[in-house]
Symmetry: C2
Subunit: 294 residues, 2 copies
């Protein structure tokens, strides 16, 4: 089969231009510049890279951005006070707290402290609950990025068997809920598999669409995939590499070389789902600035 | 196969006794009597029966209950004002608004107006979202009743293939999420099927557990069920009947007579999932009174 590569980088660049155009119009109309704040705690390499990338993307689309950094010994109290300040600041349209947080700080408490109307990461229970019910809300980045890719490539989903591997709160569960909703993309028959699943290979072989989000490099092999399946790879595990400057490279959950020839569409890693996650954040911030949802 | 009937009525009576015992202890310890309020709008026959049953069940377990009735021409404004009053009333531990509501009133607005800490129906986005994330919350009645039945009958769920037929917000989606969570009951491989599903029979034949919640009488036939499957019937469609005083009887989504001989466990209708829904409401009210969750 000749597979088609789903180019998340290209789609992401295209959507960035669309957002930049809209921001330009907003400002020309005398509206306020959208403003995203990002809180980062400590010096985790991955987190610093992600946050730098988010700040840079804000610049690219014409958003104002504020980066607020704390050392990793910051108290929960101080962090919650900062969140409260951002909740009240009328210039801040949306903000996120980059995860993970140091162990002495409760991620649950932090997420619930964010005003759900500024929760552009879509992690607050109100946004999660509204997504389940099918109400307008901030959908979290990865699930929303996956749906956008399916949409931009016109991939049919109605009545398709969609297998989601992984049941995490930030990918597996929400993407499963979105894929089963009465909408496009959606209307799929969705199966959620995880570590306790016994007949995974058999289940995957019946899938028209596989969303692999378990975080295990090259887990999905060719013998688990039906000819013509659509493969969405959410995995981004850093593995050591002597070939890159950084000393590591990203590996997906799919054994790309062997799976691609059987697929109709497939996302690469990097350059597939990854670049889309930033798009969802930018889009949620734009929606917050325009007060479209709340 | 000799099937085992899942006796929801017996389990429900047993749990009522357990709750009544706990309430007696609470009052003996000088604690406040748990207090549930129920708002009913109009004179829908089904709703009036349900509400009467809820009020009676409160009596049976020693709760105080308040029934607040509005005519079906009540304005949304008046209804929301009553909700606000109940939100502020410290004697009311939990309350529900019996659905459906007349068309001129937004159910969404009504549900979101309820303080989630008193939302013992578990319909508020905060409770739905917390359920998805796996945080303590008020779980809605039917999903929680189904899990309780599986638990009381010691039915294994880990690694089992569970097929949910129906994707409603009050049954299909939440029960699917609960069955996939890392817990018992749960840890199942869950497939959600619905009107757009193409190969339903094939999918059902692979199921160890089938939860039928589509509201189509006797939809699930023997040829869709694997020998030894566990069958949970959530359907309660009223069909006309000359054999009952009321002039109708309840029909489940399962063709019981033909499916039962193939099942290992099966719930009857009535007397299966139905009686359990009231239990979840009582239990949520007790949790609210004890401030266990919020």
């Amino acid at each position: 089969m000749t597979y088609k590569l789903i180019d998340g980088k290209a789609i992401s660049d295209q959507i960035k231009s669309e957002i930049a155009e809209e921001v330009k119009q907003m400002i020309a109309n005398g509206q306020k510049q959208p403003h995203l704040a990002v809180i980062i705690v400590g010096h985790d390499g991955g987190s610093e890279t992600y946050v730098a990338h988010k700040v840079k993307s804000c610049e690219q689309v014409g958003f104002k951005s504020t980066r607020i950094a704390f050392e990793d010994d910051v108290t929960e109290e101080v962090l919650l006070a900062e969140i409260d300040k951002l909740n009240r600041d009328p210039d801040i349209d949306g903000f996120i707290v980059q995860l993970p947080l140091p162990k002495h700080i409760s991620e649950e408490k932090v997420i619930e402290a964010i005003d759900y109307r500024k929760d552009v990461d879509g992690f607050h229970p109100v946004n999660v609950g509204r997504m389940v019910i099918g109400l307008p809300c901030f959908v979290s980045a990865t699930p929303s990025g996956i749906l956008e890719l399916l949409k931009r490539y016109d991939i049919p989903t109605s009545g398709k068997n969609c297998v989601v591997i992984g049941r995490s709160n930030i990918v597996g569960k929400p993407v499963a809920l979105l894929m089963m909703q009465k909408a496009y993309p959606g209307d799929a028959t969705v199966t959620v598999c995880h570590s306790r699943t016994k007949n995974l290979k058999e289940i995957c072989l019946q899938a028209d669409i596989i969303i692999a989000a378990l975080g295990s490099p090259e887990f999905l092999k060719a013998d688990m995939v039906k000819e013509g399946a659509v493969i969405i790879d959410v995995g981004t595990t850093r593995v050591p590499s002597s070939e890159t400057k950084s000393g590591f490279r990203l590996k997906g959950d799919v054994a790309f070389e062997e799976v691609a020839p059987k697929a109709s569409y497939i996302t690469p890693v990097p350059g597939g789902v990854g670049p889309m996650t930033i798009i969802s954040l930018l889009r949620n911030t734009l929606l917050a600035a325009k007060k479209t949802i709340y």
